[in-house]
């Protein structure tokens, strides 16, 4: 089996429009959640979200590109540009033929659906733009990355709701670890912050109207975010031979299905994914210093996740730090695992643990070290990243300091 390292990272999310800006915001415990600003927001009962501000697509993409790029594709391409620039890779010949891109998204081009349904149903139009389908399809972002960077190997998009990015990165990792491809571009994106996207979520009655406060006894629901993060997963010897900077090493993962309920989380399913990732990465519980929690801020997720972590880690559960950065950037749904992997890289590379902000009051059902409100400097060798999706589909990744 090959070793797999991360040699590039890029992002745009409510905390920043680069990795450096995002990690700085996480260290400072900034909150990227605020009032939503889009058409018909007054008809929503949920009026807050992690919306990306100061982003003008027209300043970045030309008219022809904009006719093909939904907002989630725009985010993905911007994140990919940063990641690939950092990696220093140029794809040609056999490297291009073997390298590919695996991305996660739950909804794909949600605002394209929304805009065009509005045009035909509300405005009564009988004609839509010719590129509606290639713009809204879930694999649009992966395809545009492959075209932009000449990636001709295995490429596809994974959709497992809130675990999409983790499932995608697990696949990319496996493809490189198995020796199938020397390089895989991976991560995920989501852009559901439009009227229809938020209205659909509102229906479930799990959204907070004021803040995302994971693990706090005062938590009252999740807050949506938007954005993307993209990484370059590279075979270790390939990266070493060209002297590439290694941000972290990916050492294992596991996936599980609750096979139980379409929305309620399961302690057993989550625990099997966490313990499976430890086994896959050949780790003991004591090796893990930090867990980036799924930590949505709903009553059900947070207590179930804490119970699962306590079950898997036993005595060590009190020593491991676990934080939810969703408190800062919101829940990026299919893109969330990708943005959260940045917090894991910061933990193992820089020894900085991102906090759970908005934490007000301990909940006896979430009695772990949730790194409340303030970032911490602690040397950590190994970090896990949890993602537990609606539909009971779970994926956990394990990261180690590059060496």
């Amino acid at each position: 089996m090959k070793r797999v390292v991360i040699t590039g990272a890029g992002t745009i999310n409510p905390l920043g429009q680069s990795v450096a800006a995002t990690l700085h915001a996480m260290q400072e415990g900034h909150c990227g959640i605020g009032p939503l600003d889009f058409r018909d927001v007054d008809r929503l009962s949920t009026k807050i979200g992690g919306q990306i501000q100061d982003f003008e697509p027209e300043a970045v993409f030309n008219r022809q590109q904009l006719s093909l790029y939904d907002r989630f594709t725009q985010f993905t391409l911007l994140a990919a540009k940063e990641a690939l620039l950092q990696s220093g890779l140029v794809f040609a010949g056999e490297l291009a033929a073997k390298s590919g891109v695996v991305l996660g998204t739950a909804g794909g081009g949600v605002s394209t659906w929304d805009d065009n349904y509005r045009a035909v149903y509300e405005d009564g139009k009988n004609r839509v733009h010719p590129f509606v389908v290639p713009k809204l399809m879930n694999n649009a972002a992966a395809s545009h990355i492959s075209m932009e960077y000449n990636l001709k190997g295995p490429s596809f998009t994974v959709s497992t709701a809130c675990a999409s990015s983790n499932h995608a990165m697990a696949q990319a990792f496996e493809i490189v670890r198995s020796g199938m491809s020397p390089v895989m571009v991976t991560g995920g994106a989501e852009s559901m912050l439009c009227f229809g996207g938020v209205k659909a979520w509102e229906g479930l009655r799990v959204m907070s109207r004021d803040a995302c406060r994971p693990f706090s006894a005062t938590r009252n629901g999740m807050v949506q975010g938007e954005g993307a993060a993209v990484f370059v997963f590279e075979e270790y010897d390939h990266a070493k031979a060209r002297g590439a900077e290694m941000l972290a090493e990916v050492i294992g993962y596991a996936m599980s299905s609750d096979a139980a309920d379409i929305v309620m989380p399961s302690k057993q399913g989550a625990a099997r994914a966490i313990s499976g990732a430890l086994e896959n990465a050949k780790l003991n519980p004591e090796d893990v210093g930090y867990i980036n929690a799924h930590g949505t801020g709903t009553t059900a997720n947070d207590k179930t996740e804490c119970a699962a972590v306590a079950h898997v880690f036993g005595q060590h559960a009190d020593q491991v730090m676990i934080s939810s950065t969703k408190s800062m950037h919101g829940h990026l749904i299919g893109g969330t695992g990708a943005v959260e992997l940045l917090a894991c890289i910061m933990a193992v590379r820089d020894g900085i643990i991102a906090p759970t902000i908005g934490y007000e009051e301990p909940d006896p059902e979430c009695a772990l070290d949730v790194v409340p409100n303030v970032a911490r400097e602690v040397r950590v060798d190994v970090a896990l990243s949890n993602a537990f999706a609606f539909g009971g589909l779970n994926a956990v990744l394990a990261l180690k300091r590059a060496s």
């Binding site: 009655r205 938590r219 009252n220 709903t298």
Partner: protein, 85 residues
């Protein structure tokens, strides 16, 4: 519209029971309505009466809306309907 009769009809449909099996004293739990069923019932009631019910599934017991029994739900709806008028 008779609030009590309509609410019982909606809850009975959600519980897959006959309306005669749903009494004012019934709790949603005793009728076998789970958290998803509750969210669906509230949606159906909102649609039927054109009202907004203050309910957050994260904390059903502490929402402003009492769901401890069918009678409590009926009282809550009557109040919301009256406020609307």
């Amino acid at each position: 519209m008779d609030v009590e009769a309509k609410v019982i009809e909606i809850i009975a449909e959600q519980a897959v029971l006959d309306v005669s099996d749903v009494s004012l004293e019934s709790t949603l739990d005793s009728l076998g309505i789970d958290s998803l069923g509750l969210v669906e019932s509230i949606f159906a009631i909102e649609e039927a009466f054109d009202i907004n019910i203050p309910f957050n599934a994260n904390d059903p017991t502490e929402s402003d809306f009492d769901i401890s029994s069918v009678a409590a739900i009926v009282r809550g709806i009557e109040k919301l309907v009256a406020e609307k008028a």
